[in-house]
């Protein structure tokens, strides 16, 4: 923290504005250029700070950010932070930075999106969702606590992450690869699925106990069967739902 570059109140204010505007990153998502307008919308406070009333330079810098851009919405703030810093260098007339910015945006977006998708969409969010389900099965009352806990448990870490990434990107004391290594992304990616599996198992056990001696084991059996069908035959969850319901109704009619 001590090595931080001194920055003024104005820059800090701009950074906060970029942060809030980055929540609308995907507002104009299109197949053709994806988050391009969202990115421009988010970085605009910086451009306005730098070029103010010089409409020609402002126009020119806006146009540079109109190209294709797509990454994970939580990871974008890192790129935004770094680009904001680069824009300062561009405004100061440093040569070659424009190309650096364009390359950086294209190059970082993919790997960051992959990390974000994996970390947030396919591990962290299911985990928090399952914790919500588990709370319900454990009989947490009153019921409104469940959505409340879900939303807080999910958002406190992600909100902090979004802000941190912006600040990291802006100061960029260390390389991204170092940052990822220090953040122990890989360690959490090995632990969280394990925690997820434990939560699922707890849910299955609680559900089965709730359902009693006959339906309980059937429930557990169907769960394992579905897991295998999903993993090896990749049948979609929606289709499986209809199949299970159909079989279950027929079963119910017979017995």
């Amino acid at each position: 923290m001590s090595k931080r570059v001194k920055i003024g109140a104005r820059e800090k204010k701009t950074l906060m504005r970029i942060f809030w505007r980055s929540f609308l990153l995907q507002a104009v998502w299109s197949y053709e250029r994806m988050q391009n307008i969202g990115f421009l919308f988010s970085i605009l406070p910086k451009l306005k700070e730098l070029y103010g009333n010089d409409i020609d330079r402002l126009k020119e810098s806006c146009r540079r950010h109109l190209g294709y851009f797509n990454t994970h919405p939580y990871m974008a703030s890192f790129i935004l932070g770094h680009v904001a810093r680069c824009e300062e260098r561009i405004a100061a007339g440093e040569p070659g930075v424009v190309e650096e910015v364009n390359r950086f945006k294209l190059q970082m977006a993919g790997p960051l999106a992959a990390t974000g998708d994996k970390y947030f969409w396919s591990v962290f969010r299911p985990l928090v969702g399952l914790i919500g389900v588990l709370l319900f099965l454990l009989g947490v009352q009153p019921y409104y606590l469940i959505p409340l806990i879900f939303i807080l448990l999910y958002n406190l870490p992600t909100y902090r992450h979004r802000y941190k990434m912006l600040v990291y990107g802006y100061y960029k004391k260390e390389k991204m690869s170092e940052l990822m290594k220090n953040a122990k992304v890989h360690v959490s990616l090995s632990i969280m699925p394990f925690a997820g599996l434990l939560t699922v198992l707890a849910c299955v056990v609680l559900f089965s106990l709730e359902l009693g001696a006959v339906r309980g084991p059937v429930f557990a059996g169907v769960t394992v069967l579905v897991a295998m069908l999903r993993k090896y035959l990749r049948i979609s969850a929606t289709r499986l739902l209809y199949i299970v319901v159909l079989i279950s109704i027929i079963g119910g009619l017979i017995f």
Partner: protein, 161 residues
């Protein structure tokens, strides 16, 4: 018999590749064929870190990839081979490697190329490259995810010309 997917994707590793292909098809290894990535230490490390720990990432130059494939690389385990552009695929084929089927995932619109599918835009050079690749017996299909319908790219290209 190990499975191998060959894919052109100018974003290299991103969510679609990782979740859509690797996770869905239970692949365990990514091979990136690119001279540019090979020579960029920092980018290489970021790519390695962007993939979960159970998946291996190999980064090769075209020549290395060709030698590896001839040495039985694709027989070892289920792999997705990623290319950044069409020229690199053609170059790999020129080394005598045979590819049965090539998936085209993303080639992005950059202002001057021609958009032919939702996430595929081609230049004249790409069109010629695709024709050459096709003439070498490689089937070219485009789809974003394995569960999508395969679309014959050569047919589309022939229509626009």
């Amino acid at each position: 018999m190990a499975r191998t997917v060959f894919r052109i994707d100018d974003r290299l590793i991103h969510g679609q590749v990782l979740e859509g292909w690797i996770h869905n098809l239970n692949l365990t290894r990514v091979a990136i064929v690119s001279e540019r990535v090979k020579n960029d230490e920092e980018y290489r490390r970021i790519l390695e870190f962007s993939v979960p720990p159970e998946i291996k990432v190999d980064i090769f130059s075209i020549r290395e990839m060709a030698e590896k494939i001839k040495g039985g690389y694709t027989e070892e385990e289920d792999t997705i081979v990623l290319f950044e552009n069409t020229s690199e695929v053609l170059e790999l084929l020129d080394y005598g490697v045979r590819i049965e089927s090539l998936n085209v995932g993303c080639l992005h619109y950059n202002g001057s190329n021609l958009q032919v599918r939702k996430s595929i835009a081609v230049t004249d050079k790409d069109i010629n490259n695709f024709k050459d690749i096709d003439s070498m017996g490689t089937q070219i299909e485009c789809r974003a995810l394995p569960q999508d319908r395969k679309v014959d790219l050569v047919e589309i290209i022939n229509k626009i010309k």
